[in-house]
């Protein structure tokens, strides 16, 4: 699995950080998403997929391979 974030789209909802804190974080100055793990470990995949579904701004893309 590869994760991509579309930073300009992010609205700093914090949902991804709440669901998958090992993969996503937020910038200190404005809460915008930071991708910590472009290729997260398999045990994190379910949370990453859930983050992509829940993200209100469609800013998270999961490329499965």
């Amino acid at each position: 699995m590869r994760v991509e974030v579309d930073v300009p789209k992010c609205v700093a909802s914090g949902q991804c950080v709440m669901i998958a804190p090992d993969v996503f974080d937020q910038r200190e100055e404005d809460g915008i998403v930071i991708l910590l793990e472009e290729r997260p470990a398999p045990e994190l995949h379910a949370d990453v997929r859930e983050s992509a579904v829940v993200c209100p701004a469609a800013a998270i893309r999961v490329v499965e391979k």
């Binding site: 609205v11 950080v17 804190p21 209100p56 701004a57």
Partner: protein, 414 residues
């Protein structure tokens, strides 16, 4: 052919359902039966508003997500066709502009000025303080006479104290701002009442911003004041934002605390789970389920189409109003099995109680921590908590933008 014609005529003559619709007597938590019927029969359909206008009501989860995430759908309340909740709301739309009624890119520019304090880590750092305030409020209630009103003892003061601290608003003024904010969000308020409450609150916040310009502190109003100095905002814009944050910061969570307690007391098996757990994951799940089940911001997300949009087999034309009715979306059985069941063990994270799209709630991390602390504390500390009156006697807030109860008399074994 004849049949189709007859059907079309019948449909055209049938009066449109009026919106908002009443809830069924005895079912204070369920979305109105008419709305539930539309959800199955005509998921995208026109309804009649107080002013005779006929915007679209969208009741299905999938259509709602699509629309709230669609840049062709606008939140600008000053556009013609925007479905206002009352004459007062319409009158206020032009006077009170804050980012909740702006579209991108303007919305994004302004929202980002206030996102930092709501980042997950910053809010998590406030948890001990939120726990301390909750414990103190419960201590005070227990030291006083029973029955007590849970709204005034805990549900309202907790989020008010927290948002006041975050913004830099003196909590001593809570009678003033709570009175005016409940007037502002009541759809039965007259135009004069809404405009008057708005002016009073904006002038008040304007004065506070001016004070922070002279004497900055470590709070959000001071941050906004520094944006005024930098020429990024006018002082009035900053005051409008202050009003939005102050109202959104206490009216919502307060109702979730009180109405959530009613729902749990009515579902003793679910309450028992919360009373007996210390597992933060169990409590966090319960919060999401209560948010879904109650969908307290129950007036629908109000929008207007900027272009023609095909959705659910209908065409919404440019300039037509849209009401995205998340109350039924959150009770959509295609997404949430047995939606009418309050089941705090289910995974309800996909709910839209905080909205969806670019306007999704800015304060959600704070609301979540406040609710996790309260639901994780109140029933453990007062295991005998019960209503001091019948559920059917409770004064429900059917007339407000936010659903809840005006009062919640509770009692306990001392």
């Amino acid at each position: 052919m004849t049949e189709t014609l007859a059907e079309t005529t019948a449909e055209a003559e049938e009066p449109l359902p009026e919106f908002p619709m009443p809830r069924a007597t005895g079912c204070p938590f369920a979305p109105p039966p008419t709305a539930q019927a539309l959800h199955t029969e005509r998921p995208v359909t026109r309804v009649r508003l107080w002013d005779g206008s006929a915007p679209w009501l969208v009741t299905r989860y999938a259509d709602q997500r699509a629309l709230l995430g669609d840049p062709r759908v606008s939140s600008e309340a000053t556009r013609p066709g925007f479905p206002h909740a009352s004459a007062g709301f319409r009158e206020n739309a032009g006077r009170r502009r804050s980012f909740i009624t702006m579209d991108d890119p303007e919305h994004a520019r302004i929202r980002r000025m206030v996102t930092a304090p709501f980042a997950i880590k910053r809010i998590e750092a406030m948890r001990p303080e939120i726990q301390r305030i909750t414990d103190e409020l419960i201590d005070t209630m227990l030291a006083g006479p029973a029955p007590a009103d849970l709204v005034r003892a805990l549900a309202l003061p907790l989020p008010s104290l927290v948002i006041c601290k975050l913004l830099g608003v003196p909590y001593e003024d809570h009678d003033f701002f709570q009175r005016n904010s409940s007037k502002l969000i009541n759809r039965h308020s007259s135009v004069e009442e809404v405009v008057g409450a708005n002016e009073a609150l904006t002038d008040y916040l304007d004065g506070l911003v001016a004070a922070k310009l002279a004497n900055p502190a470590d709070d959000m109003l001071s941050e906004l004041a520094s944006r005024v100095t930098a020429g990024e905002l006018t002082q009035r814009d900053a005051a409008n934002m202050g009003v939005l944050l102050l109202i959104a910061g206490h009216e919502t969570t307060a109702n979730m605390i009180a109405l959530g307690t009613v729902a749990l007391l009515e579902n003793p098996d679910q309450l028992a789970v919360l009373r007996e757990t210390e597992d933060p994951k169990v409590i966090a799940r319960a919060v999401e389920e209560l948010l879904r089940y109650l969908t307290i911001v129950h007036n629908g997300r109000r929008r207007v189409a900027l272009e023609d949009i095909e959705i659910g087999g209908e065409t919404i034309r440019a300039g037509e109003g849209i009401i995205v009715y998340t109350s039924t979306g959150n009770w959509d059985s295609e997404v949430f099995a047995e939606p009418e069941r309050l089941d705090i063990g289910r995974d309800a994270r996909r709910h839209m109680a905080f909205g969806f799209g670019i306007h999704q709630c800015l304060g959600q991390p704070l609301a979540r921590v406040e609710l996790q602390v309260v639901y994780g504390t109140l029933y453990r500390r007062i295991p005998t908590l019960r209503l001091a009156t019948g559920v059917d006697q409770l004064p429900f807030k059917d007339d407000g933008l936010v659903y809840g109860v005006y009062e919640l008399p509770v009692t306990w074994a001392s």
